[in-house]
Each structure stands twice: as structure tokens, then as C-alpha cells.
């Protein structure tokens, strides 16, 4: 299907967006004239058709997220920064269409009429939970940015411009930066391990007036790192979670997806099908936020939450469940199980820094030629990771913020609509 211009969606959507409205115009034939009016199921109403199209488009969007580079060379790898941006794009498109459908059909299906009002309020409650997640994810992205800075130091040391000899000082500098990075990541993994490990304090060595009163992320450690030479110094971790100690991403996910029940047939009928659209939007909200939490570091990143018994009759159910399973599988892989985020670039950071540390371990100076080229190779990879992070983090953060905005806006619009006098009751 050709990608057309998003007419109804707002600015930051990428060219990936497809407009529901223009899509539909091409597809739906006019209803045939009704000569035999004996059956009530013969001719689906136009609202049924619109809602069906919504379900199918959600399915398409999810399906596209599953495409791998074999079938589509331009498809980004699962859980990479680029893929995550696509995920958010898809969510924003879906949300916009959901909103459009609600208000398009509001005349015939008053939103404030039970059971639709109850279902909508339930959805909005879940949506609010997503807002806190957006803020936490923004912090997580910032954390990755901090990691990148360490990488950049190592890269600057080992591949300076203009090119210089890689000597002992440079190697030492890079190793220190990478060691600090490893400690940082270990620390944060502590807070955000997939399995939700208990927080281990590295030992609180006394407090000063200015030390932080709470937050498990704040603790003093003795300085480490092979080459720092100071040994006795101690420094505080550079980043703390800005959420309270009791806040938990896992709990937010549970609140978003927990108890999301399949709408009953008579509810669907009573709301002209909108009940199923609300359910679909809730499911999409869940899987998107769940995937984001899987990818990006945040406090208490438990992935246990899941949707119960999504009916396969919905066209998006298959791709949604597949997506969920694939990410879950990724989280169980040996080398990713204890990672603080499944984002591909995080894996690359871990790998690159480990590789560089190995390559420079017990190096003798001046470096032998083959050693030097090993170092150079490893450095190149590091530079690449730095680059993709630099290019990818800011746009993703902007999108997360946009998600925040849109959820707020949709919620406000629906609540306002529900409270207007001619709509009440």
C-alpha cells in the first residue's frame, strides 16, 4: 500500500505515517442498495466499516514493526533506536485515528452513554499511567546519553583528530573512561534489572550535609578503575532516578495492561462497535509502553505484565502477540538477561567497551602493529556506536515527549466532551 501524506496527524510524524482517512477512501465501496431488509447482518453500517478499518490499520502498523531486514532491507532492527522511533510513530498514528473515530461517530454513538463512558474513562485512567512512564523514559534516555559521553571520551582518546600516536596515556585515558562506564551501567542495572532484583547498596560510607536523604540510586562507592591510581577517593554516582523510591515501571505497566478485559458482545453492539476500538487502543497502548520499558532503562523494569487472552479474531492480535513474544525472547537471551535495557545500542555499548578493554588489556608500549590495528578496529566500532547514539537519542526523546503531549491532549478532549451539558447523561 502506498504511503500517503498524513492529513490528520500532527507534525512530527515521519513519512512512515499513513492517513487512515485517505486509506479508507480508496478502499471502501459504497453499500449496495438494500432490497431485502430481512437480515440485520447483511449490510454493515458505515461506522462498522470505519471501526474495522481502524482494527486493520492497527494490524498493519504492528505487522510492519515485525518486518526484518530479510523481507524489507530498510526495516530497522528490532529494538534499535530507529525501530523504537517507528514504534512510537505507530502509536501516535493509532492514537490519532482512535481519536478521529471517536469524534466522527460521537453523534450517533454519544460518548457519554453507558457503557461507552465507563470504557473510555477506564482507558483514560490507563493513559495517565503512561504519562509517568514517558517522564521516566526520558530520564532513561538521558542516562544513555551520559554513557555515551564516556564512550566519546574513549573515542576521543583513541581516535583523535588530528591523528596521533596511540600511546600509553591515550590507552589509559580510554580505559578509565570505559571502566567508569561499566561501573555506571552496573549501578543502573542494579536499579533496573529485568528480573527486578533487589537493590544492593554498595555501602553507604558516611554522609555529609549535602548527601541525599533517600533514593536507592544514591550511594557512595570507592573509586575503582585500574588506571586512576587514586584508590582512596570516592565519588557519587552521576545520575539518580528522579522518581521516588517506591515508583516502579513494572507497576505502571501492570496498571496499564492489567484488567484490560475483552469487551462483551452486547457492549460492542450497544456502542456501535466503539467498545472494540477502545479495547484495541488499550492493547496498543500497553504493548507500546511495555516495549519502551523493555528497551530503555528505568526504575524497576519488570516485564512480567502482559495482556490476558487477546482474542485472535482481531486482526492486530496476531502481530501484537508476536511482537510481545519476540521482545520477551530477547529479554531472556543469555547475554541480554542482565542488561539494563534491551535497546540494541545498549548492547553495542556493552560489547564495544568490553571488546576495547580486552584488546587493550595488559598492553605493552609502544604498541605492536597488529595490536594497534586491533585497537583501531575496536575504536572504529566505538565511534560508530557513538554516532548512532548521538543521532538517535535526541529524536527519540522528542518523540517520547510528543507521546506525552498527545496522550494529554486526547485525554483532555475526551473528558471535556464528556462533561459538556448536552452530552451529560
Amino acid at each position: 500500500m502506498p504511503a500517503t501524506d498524513s492529513s490528520s496527524a500532527a507534525a512530527p510524524l515521519t513519512s512512515f505515517g499513513r492517513s487512515f482517512l485517505s486509506h479508507r477512501r480508496d478502499q471502501i465501496p459504497p453499500p449496495p442498495p438494500d432490497h431485502h431488509s430481512h437480515s440485520h447482518t447483511q449490510h454493515p453500517s458505515s461506522s462498522d466499516l470505519e471501526i474495522d478499518a481502524f482494527h486493520r490499520h492497527a494490524a498493519d502498523l504492528l505487522h510492519d514493526l515485525l518486518s526484518d531486514s530479510n523481507s524489507d532491507p530498510s526495516a530497522p532492527d528490532l529494538l534499535s533506536l530507529a525501530w523504537t522511533r517507528r514504534l512510537l510513530d505507530s502509536f501516535l498514528i493509532c492514537l490519532e485515528e482512535f481519536r478521529a473515530i471517536l469524534f466522527a461517530l460521537a453523534d450517533s454513538q454519544p460518548l457519554s452513554r453507558p457503557p461507552l463512558d465507563r470504557l473510555l474513562l477506564d482507558f483514560l485512567d490507563r493513559a495517565v499511567k503512561a504519562l509517568d512512564l514517558c517522564n521516566a523514559l526520558r530520564d532513561g534516555l538521558d542516562l544513555i546519553r551520559q554513557w555515551r559521553k564516556h564512550l566519546a571520551i574513549a573515542a576521543a582518546a583513541l581516535a583523535p583528530a588530528p591523528a596521533a600516536q596511540r600511546g600509553e596515556a591515550q590507552i589509559r585515558r580510554a580505559r578509565k573512561a570505559l571502566t567508569d562506564l561499566t561501573i555506571l551501567m552496573l549501578d543502573d542495572k542494579d536499579a533496573g534489572g529485568v528480573v527486578g532484583q533487589r537493590n544492593r547498596s554498595f555501602g553507604r560510607a558516611g554522609t555529609t550535609r549535602d548527601s541525599l536523604p533517600h533514593g536507592h540510586g544514591h550511594h557512595r562507592r570507592s573509586s575503582s578503575g585500574g588506571s586512576s591510581g587514586s584508590g582512596s577517593g570516592s565519588h557519587l554516582r552521576s545520575l539518580s532516578w528522579s522518581v521516588s523510591r517506591t515508583w516502579s515501571a513494572a507497576r505502571q505497566l501492570q496498571a496499564i495492561g492489567g484488567g484490560l478485559t475483552v469487551p462483551r458482545a452486547n457492549d460492542i453492539a450497544a456502542t456501535g462497535g466503539l467498545a472494540s476500538a477502545v479495547y484495541a487502543m488499550g492493547a496498543v497502548l500497553f504493548v507500546v509502553t511495555w516495549a519502551l520499558v523493555a528497551a530503555i532503562p528505568c526504575q524497576d523494569r519488570g516485564l512480567q505484565a502482559h495482556l490476558t487472552a487477546v482474542p485472535r479474531t482481531f486482526p492486530w492480535a496476531g502481530p501484537l502477540i508476536t511482537l510481545f513474544d519476540r521482545i520477551l525472547d530477547e529479554s531472556k537471551k543469555k547475554d541480554r538477561k542482565h542488561s539494563c535495557g534491551l535497546l540494541k545500542e545498549i548492547h553495542q555499548i556493552e560489547r564495544c567497551s568490553r571488546q576495547l578493554m580486552e584488546v587493550t588489556d595488559a598492553a605493552e608500549f609502544p604498541l605492536a602493529d597488529d595490536k594497534d590495528s586491533e585497537v583501531q578496529e575496536a575504536t572504529q566500532e566505538l565511534v560508530q556506536v557513538c554516532g548512532s547514539l548521538k543521532d538517535g537519542l535526541d529524536p527519540l526523546e522528542r518523540q517520547v515527549r510528543e507521546m506525552f503531549h498527545r496522550v494529554v491532549r486526547t485525554r483532555t478532549e475526551i473528558l471535556d466532551y464528556l462533561s459538556r451539558p448536552h452530552n451529560a447523561g
Binding site: 517522564n135 566519546a152 557519587l236 565511534v383 451539558p421
Partner: protein
């Protein structure tokens, strides 16, 4: 280099001055350049006297560093420590290790900034937390936040920026980049140290702006909006220099917009609520309805806050709002109402008038609940009088509403009063008319004694009934009550006196005059004083012994 880095870290963390951060918040008055309103929906804002010198002595030496007058930077480290740090940073930067230096700086200052904000009372509340709290609790938090935010922005953040400047200015701390990037300025370490705290600070205001829109929230949210607006120039000044920092300003500005939207939304919600207020049961005694009090007090507060509201409310009550009223079975004719719309009327004024129009309309619905039409007119009298009075009591409100509409309201009052008098007293006064009593011709002096007796009897019964019933009615306003009694007396007593004068001898010449002439004019005068007390009267009308 590593040793230098450790030295840097050491100096930065160990030489930090012990600051009375809380004092910054307590002296919030000196850090606030806008005047607090004298009224607010809940308890009044603390008024604090500007104590310039004591701020400095308590909190640390103050120096102005190219900043707005509202900003108060304080020393975070002693001067010699700062020079040391500058020296180290210069050497590290010259050797190409600027980035490490910047990182250490941020890693030490960040927890310090977080701690300062903690001490100022900034809490780590999630949006979920804020949603769960009762509004009363949130009001208190908003008040605290406003004080804390002023101190945080104008004191803590400003001071951090200055410190960063003193250490890093003109140093090449990030010029070695592997990938193409915008050159970081010397503000980056500051931005990194402060970013989390700043976002968390403004996050509270954002959480408030997202909450459900209920009318009770209006004024506190306006306070929050104004406080944030007040701070934005300072935020812009402090956070303008680097891209990282800029995003903080952008976010703060977004949040201010959100708060403005919330204000507009809440005002709409209020208008809807007045429209929707159900008739329920009639208020006993026809007194001023709680809805009237609520709406007029609210409107009065709106006029107190008119400076900000005039800026924020830019559209008139929409045609659709009025159309919506049309769909409401309680107010079918609202949409057709001819609202006064003078040329220079501000949108805010249009809204207030609309609110009162909706209130009136709602009151008419409530008035129709009374079975006694006289009582429903009295009810309207009481309530419209209250409205008019409230308007007159508040010059701002009067100004907004305008003389024309006030005249209209007063006219409504007069009409209700007339209607009351007519429906309550016409029948009674008709007992005292001449017509129908005279018969023509014959031996009698021309008066039908039976008709006369009937008249006296009906008058007595009707008056007694009125006395019994209307004493239980209520006119809460003292002045109005007096005027109403006087007005009734003025019509009733002379008419009765004249009737008595002309016809009593007919009755007194007949049998059992006391059955018909029960009261003197003075008795009536006294009895009228029982009216509208809101209490059931004594069982008999007091009377003087009649002559």
C-alpha cells in the same frame, strides 16, 4: 591527569559551603516581584517583607552577575576554592581532558542541587501521586511549590550557573569531538547538574495542569500559572545559553501554556456546572439558594483575578456553548437570550454575564418547584437581590458586568417583587374594595350586609392564612425584609383602616361584630412584622383589645 581529576573532585565536594537553603524559601517575598493578591480562594498568600541585607548575611554573600534584578546568586564555594578549581579546570582543558573535568563537575554538583531542592520542599511526586491527592492537600503543595520554585530558580539554579561560569568560562571543555556536534558552551556542566532537578520541579506544575478540571481548582491554578509566568524570564535568562538548558526553558513555557489551557477549561466546566445544577427540591422558605451564593462568590473571586483572567480568556462564551444550553431541557430558551454585548466588552466580561444569565435561568427552574406562586416570586426576589447586591459590593465585578446588565437585573428584581405582591396580596386587598358592596335602591343605606360580612370574613381568613404561611418564608437580607414589610403595610393598613372606617358601623350594628371585625389597623401593622422571619408564628395574631 587522573590526579588532577581527583583533586578537582575533592575540592569541589569538600569545600562546598554550608548554606541555609531554607532561608532562601522563607524570604521568598524578596524573591518575588509580583504582588500577591489580597484575596485568594483559600488562605491568603504569605506576605513577606523584603529583607535585602539579611538575605545576604544568612544565605551567603550576594553578587550580581549579569542577571535580572530578581535573581539572587549566592556563593556555593569560597573564593579560593573557586580559583583552585578554575586553575585545575584550565590545565585539564588545555591538555584535552576538558570532558572528564566537566563530567566530574556535573557528578558532584548534581546531588548537591537535588539536595538543595529537597530542602526547599520540592517533592518527588509522580503524576499518579498528584492525581490521587485530594485538592485541599494539593492546594497546600501548590503554595509551597510557588515559594520553593522562586528560591530554586532565582537562588539555587542562578548560583549554580554562576559557579559553573566562574570555573569553566572560556575553557575548551568539549572541543574534541569525534562526531560532528554543536559546540558545547561552558554552560553544559551546569545544565547537566541542574537538568534533572529543574525538570522535576516543573513536573509538579505539569501534573497539576493535567488534572481533572473542576471549578474549585480555578484560583489556585491561576496562582500557579502566574507564579510560573513570573519565573519564565528568569528561567530564560538562566537556561538560555546551551541547547541542553534551552529545553528546560521550552518545557517550562509549555507547562505555562498547559496551565493557561487548564484555566480556560475550568472556567468552561464551571459554566457547565451551573447550567447542569439540577432543580432537586425547593429551598425552604424561598430563601437565597446555595447555588446563588456559590456562583456569586465565585464570580466575585473571578473579578479579583481579572488581571490574569483577562489575558487568558480570549474568546467569548462560544455559540456552541449557548447552543449546548439549547439542547438542555432545563434551558431551552437560553440560546435565544439577548445578551448585552457592548462594543468594548472584554471576553471575560462576556463570560461573567453569561454565568449570571445561566444562574438566573437555573434559578427560574428552581422557582417553578414551589407550588405557591407567591413563594416562587419571593424566591426570585431574594436571589436576584442577592446577585445585584454582590455586584454592587464589588467594584471590579460591577465594572465587568457593566451598568446595562445591572439595570436589567434590577428590573428583574422589581418585576419579581411586583409579581409577589400581586399574587400574594391582590386577593386580600380585593376584600377591601368598594365594588360589589353597594346595592341600589331599597330601604337600606345601600350596603349589602351579608356581602360585607362575607368580605370581612374572607379578609380575616386570607390574612390569617397569609400570616401563618408567610411568617415561615424567609427574606435573609435585613434591608430588603424591612422594605418589603413596609411596602406591604403601606398598601394594606391604609386600605384596611379606610374600609373599617367606612363600613364598621354596619357590622357593629349587627350581631356578633367580633366575629367579623377581629383586628384593628394597628394589629395588622404589628402582624406584618412577623412576615418573612423564617419561623412559624405564634398561633394567634396578637391584637390589642379593640375598641
Amino acid at each position: 591527569m587522573a590526579r588532577l581529576e581527583d583533586e578537582f573532585r575533592h575540592v569541589l565536594s569538600s569545600r562546598a559551603l554550608d548554606l541555609e537553603i531554607e532561608a532562601l524559601a522563607d524570604l521568598g517575598g524578596s524573591l518575588s516581584i509580583s504582588s500577591d493578591r489580597s484575596n485568594s480562594a483559600s488562605s491568603a498568600e504569605l506576605q513577606v517583607v523584603d529583607e535585602d541585607d539579611s538575605v545576604s548575611s544568612l544565605v551567603g554573600r550576594r553578587s550580581s552577575y549579569r542577571s535580572l534584578p530578581s535573581i539572587r546568586e549566592i556563593d556555593l564555594l569560597p573564593d579560593d576554592a573557586v580559583s583552585d578549581l578554575r586553575a585545575i579546570a584550565s590545565r585539564m582543558a588545555a591538555a584535552g581532558y576538558g570532558r572528564e573535568c566537566a563530567q566530574v563537575y556535573a557528578s558532584v554538583r548534581k546531588p548537591a542541587v537535588d539536595a538543595s531542592l529537597r530542602r526547599l520542599g520540592v517533592e518527588r511526586l509522580s503524576i499518579g501521586d498528584v492525581q490521587r491527592l485530594e485538592w485541599k492537600a494539593l492546594e497546600a503543595k501548590i503554595r509551597r511549590w510557588i515559594r520553593a520554585a522562586r528560591a530554586a530558580v532565582r537562588g539555587v539554579f542562578a548560583s549554580e550557573r554562576r559557579l559553573c561560569f566562574l570555573i569553566f568560562h572560556d575553557l575548551p571543555i568539549s572541543n574534541i569531538t569525534v562526531t560532528a556536534a554543536a559546540p558545547a558552551t561552558h554552560d553544559t556542566p551546569f545544565a547537566e547538574a541542574v537538568k534533572g532537578a529543574a525538570l522535576q520541579l516543573f513536573g509538579f506544575a505539569e501534573a497539576i495542569s493535567i488534572g481533572r478540571r473542576s471549578p474549585e481548582k480555578l484560583f489556585k491554578i491561576i496562582d500557579l500559572h502566574d507564579a510560573l509566568s513570573d519565573l519564565l524570564p528568569d528561567v530564560s535568562d538562566i537556561f538560555a545559553a546551551s541547547k541542553v538548558a534551552e529545553s528546560i526553558y521550552v518545557q517550562a513555557a509549555e507547562i505555562r501554556s498547559r496551565l493557561a489551557d487548564a484555566v480556560r477549561g475550568i472556567l468552561s466546566e464551571f459554566e457547565n456546572a451551573v447550567l447542569r445544577d439540577p432543580p432537586k427540591t425547593a429551598v425552604p422558605g424561598g430563601t437565597v439558594h446555595p447555588l446563588t451564593r456559590y456562583v456569586m462568590n465565585y464570580s466575585s473571586l473571578i473579578s479579583d483575578y481579572k488581571v490574569t483572567l483577562s489575558e487568558l480568556i480570549v474568546s467569548r462564551p462560544s455559540a456552541s456553548a449557548r447552543l449546548a444550553a439549547e439542547g438542555n431541557e432545563l434551558a431551552p430558551s437560553l440560546a435565544e437570550l439577548d445578551l448585552p454585548e457592548p462594543d468594548n466588552q472584554t471576553p471575560l466580561a462576556a463570560h461573567i454575564i453569561w454565568i449570571i444569565v445561566v444562574l438566573e435561568h437555573n434559578l427560574e427552574g428552581k422557582a417553578s418547584l414551589y407550588r405557591d406562586t407567591a413563594l416562587s416570586h419571593l424566591f426570585l426576589m431574594n436571589n436576584v437581590y442577592y446577585i445585584v447586591h454582590k455586584v454592587k459590593d464589588s467594584p471590579d465585578l460591577w465594572n465587568l458586568i457593566g451598568d446595562d446588565y445591572l439595570k436589567r437585573l434590577t428590573g428583574k428584581f422589581t418585576m419579581a417583587a411586583t409579581n409577589y405582591q400581586r399574587s400574594a396580596w391582590l386577593k386580600i386587598l380585593n376584600c377591601l374594595r368598594d365594588e360589589g358592596l353597594h346595592v341600589s335602591g331599597g330601604f337600606s343605606s345601600g350596603i349589602s350586609k351579608s356581602a360585607l360580612r362575607e368580605r370581612f370574613r374572607s379578609f380575616n381568613a386570607a390574612f390569617e392564612e397569609a400570616h401563618r404561611v408567610q411568617s415561615g418564608w424567609c427574606v435573609p437580607d435585613t434591608q430588603l425584609r424591612e422594605e418589603l414589610r413596609i411596602s406591604i403595610s403601606e398598601k394594606l393598613v391604609p386600605a384596611y383602616r379606610s374600609f373599617l372606617g367606612r363600613f364598621r358601623h354596619h357590622i357593629e350594628n349587627g350581631k356578633h361584630p367580633e366575629l367579623y371585625i377581629k383586628y384593628s389597623a394597628e394589629d395588622l401593622e404589628i402582624a406584618v412584622n412577623d412576615f418573612f422571619e423564617g419561623v412559624p408564628p405564634s398561633p394567634h395574631i396578637r391584637r390589642r383589645s379593640h375598641s
